[in-house]
């Protein structure tokens, strides 16, 4: 019996009871639909995550100062100041896998223009190479400040789109003066739009200035205090302790030094520190090498012995990428499990209805055998019937799942991505379900005795 005739016979048989066929395949429809929708939505969000990681600079390696600890209490990252501008220069010089680097001094304070003000989520003191590291080379207006500006601690800055919108309201900011802590800065450029990062924070809410300017003119009094009203005349060169975080409840751990004691034990003159060093590996494959090289360089510069802990922390995006994509992968896998269970249930439904069908059509089977159908012809006919049933269900499921993910895209604005692989897999899986769960009923049909089948009432 030719295969297309078998398929036609199967379709005729299914057409006899379309409602039953529909209900039977519901499990497959839902299972396949779920798989397709999940794959499309899952793929969409993982590529959205990838895109947003790329927008943060996928090859970025962040070097943070180490943690201070006192009596088992850790003060968290950045609580000691161990990174210097010289470290940054050394990294650039000595680490071949690092393609660019930028020092970072952070501040958080009010920016004022005319009668408007705004506290940007980041005020970054850095060098022009920051834009290179962050892969943020496109400016929407003006130009980047120069290395000379950094050297001279010139009062120039660049603004992110959000800041421009909040302060200037349609005016062009280039050439205008803004004030930060009563220091006036000239705006030289406006950064291109970058959008939110994968954590959802707005990357355009930023002000960039030479790090020297921020360090010496602004951050001296704002580094540890974001609240300007309570800022005291501290300098950033003091070691940050818990008591400084809560100025209202000052609590000294040690007896306060008297003037004479201080004079007897002079504090070593501290170097200028920076808050972070942002570096970029040449390629994402070189990230591990770059980290190794940076670690070696910094250990040597900070004179850390073999058995001592590092006084700095290195973070890179691969960890974050991995974490995020493993989260989405976990979700996708969980949903795939649900879909597989649904397919299993659907398969059992198919098996059930095929057994009913075999019983109902016993006389037909007997007749077909009487006119010359061999056992394998009968087996094939019922197998094809169940595969056709499953494929029809799978097709409906693909349409349903695709439609569902398109609805999600339209109404929830979730990123979705078509997944031809999932569609191919769905077709294969539904055919497999048809074969696996249709086999037993088909086998039962093929084993019928022609006379008994003909006599069956």
């Amino acid at each position: 019996m030719t295969i297309h005739r078998t398929v036609r016979t199967a379709l005729q048989a299914l057409r006899r009871n379309p409602m039953r066929a529909l209900l039977t395949t519901l499990g497959i429809v839902i299972g396949v639909g779920a798989v397709i929708a999940m794959m499309e939505i899952g793929n969409g969000s993982s590529s959205a995550i990838k895109k947003s990681i790329a927008s943060m600079g996928a090859n970025t390696i962040l070097i943070l100062p180490g943690t201070a600890a006192s009596g088992g209490v850790s003060f968290g990252s950045g609580s000691v100041m161990t990174l210097t501008p010289q470290d940054y220069e050394a990294i650039l010089r000595e680490c071949p896998s690092v393609s660019s680097a930028a020092p970072m001094v952070r501040a958080r304070t009010q920016v004022v223009y005319g009668n408007r003000n705004w506290v940007p989520s980041a005020i970054a003191g850095t060098t022009p190479s920051f834009l290179e590291v962050r892969d943020w080379m496109d400016l929407s207006e003006g130009e980047v400040f120069s290395d000379r500006d950094v050297l001279n601690a010139n009062k120039v800055c660049m603004l992110g789109q959000t800041l421009v919108r909040e302060l200037f309201q349609g005016e062009s900011p280039v050439g205008k003066e803004i004030r930060i802590k009563n220091v006036s800065f000239r705006v030289v450029g406006v950064l291109g739009a970058k959008g939110a990062n994968m954590m959802g924070s707005d990357q355009d809410d930023i002000l960039i200035a030479p790090w020297t300017t921020i360090k010496y003119r602004i951050s001296g009094s704002t580094l540890t205090m974001t609240n300007q009203s309570s800022s005291t005349s501290e300098t950033s060169s003091t070691v940050n302790t818990l008591s400084k975080l809560y100025p209202g409840s000052q609590q000294s751990l040690y007896p306060v030094k008297s003037e004479i004691q201080a004079a007897d034990n002079p504090m070593p003159v501290r170097f200028t520190n920076i808050d972070q060093i942002l570096t970029a590996a040449a390629t994402s494959e070189e990230i591990p090498e770059a980290i190794e090289q940076i670690t070696a360089t910094l250990r040597e510069r900070h004179r850390i012995r073999q058995d001592e802990a590092e006084d700095f922390t290195i973070r890179d995006m691969t960890e974050m990428t991995k974490t995020l994509s493993s989260t989405t992968k976990l979700m996708t896998n969980l949903l795939l499990c649900v879909a597989l269970i649904s397919l299993l249930v659907g398969g059992v439904g198919i098996m059930n209805i095929m057994l009913v069908s075999v019983t109902e059509r016993t006389r037909e089977i007997g007749l077909r055998m009487a006119v010359g159908a061999r056992a394998r012809d009968i087996l094939r006919q019922f197998l094809v019937e169940s595969v056709v049933l499953c494929l029809v269900g799978g097709g409906a499921g693909i349409l349903l799942g695709h439609g569902g993910s398109q609805l999600v895209r339209l109404f929830l604005n979730w990123p979705v991505e078509n997944s031809p692989g999932a569609i191919a897999a769905a077709v294969l899986v539904s055919a497999a379900v048809g074969i696996i769960f249709g086999y037993y009923p088909a086998w039962r049909a093929s084993r019928l005795d022609p006379i008994e089948a003909l006599r069956y009432e």
Binding site: Q12, E364, G366, R368, A370, V371, R374, A375, R376, P450
Partner: protein, 250 residues
């Protein structure tokens, strides 16, 4: 030479531990081109014998020779092929596919033929066959839209679609009134005379049996009477030639 030869056929059913002997040593010969009626009381074993003759069932012991081949020892697949190519069946209860048209019913056995023919050729042959049984105007009717006699004629057309040399009919008129009965029987006679098809039909109706050339009576699993033309007396050389020419019996 006999087309069909049964030698000491026994058939015993087993129900639990009980042995139910149904056929108790049946021997007979049927030549090509005969129209034989098999008669007997209810439960005498006519259908059982028919099933063995039609290769739907195997005897418990004994030999069944069909065209010089011992088909009693054939495998299930070989018997299926034999049924497809060399035998036609007409059942008392028509046994048509309910939701299929007359034409589809008639060409159904062609799907199982080993030498597959194209769909168009199959439909052409189906139409021709339905024409033979006088149903050219009922091609697309489903069985439920046909009268009993018409349904049986569709069944006959289906039995003949592969041009088998032998036709078996188990009570073919059992569900028909006397008018349609004789209509069907006339058709059998015509097929027998004009096409030389060997026909074996089971009946317990003497009126039906009268249409046959030869009447075999069976009672309690043995042949008790065999009335009619002897093999040698039937001038059917033409028919025997036709059968061996087409080489239908494998």
């Amino acid at each position: 030479m006999a087309l069909i030869e049964l030698k000491q056929i026994f058939k015993t059913y087993h129900i639990g531990n009980m042995r139910v002997p149904v056929l108790k040593g049946v021997s007979l010969q049927i030549a090509a081109g005969e129209l034989v009626a098999l008669m007997g009381t209810s439960g005498s074993g006519k259908s059982t014998l028919m099933n063995i003759l039609g290769c739907l069932d195997r005897p418990t012991s004994g030999e069944y020779w069909l065209n010089q081949k011992e088909v009693g020892r054939f495998s299930a697949d070989d018997r299926a092929n034999l049924r497809n190519r060399s035998m036609g069946f007409v059942f008392q209860s028509f046994n048509l596919l309910a939701r299929a048209s007359a034409l589809e019913n008639v060409i159904m056995p062609l799907s199982y033929a080993t030498d597959t023919i194209s769909d168009r050729e199959a439909r052409r042959r189906g139409r021709e066959m339905l024409g033979r049984v006088g149903l050219d105007d009922r091609l697309d009717h489903e069985p439920s839209q046909l009268s009993g006699g018409q349904q049986q004629r569709v069944a006959i057309a289906r039995a003949l679609i592969n041009r088998p040399p032998v036709l078996f009919a188990d009570e073919p008129t059992g569900n028909l009134d006397s008018n349609t009965s004789s209509e069907v029987l006339r058709m059998f006679q015509e097929l027998n005379r004009e096409d030389g098809i060997t026909i074996i039909l089971v009946t317990h109706d003497p009126m039906v049996a009268q249409h046959a050339d030869r009447i075999i009576r069976i009672s309690d699993g043995v042949i008790v009477d065999d009335v009619g033309y002897r093999i040698e007396q039937k001038p059917q050389a033409v028919i025997a030639g036709r059968i061996s020419d087409s080489g239908d019996i494998s």
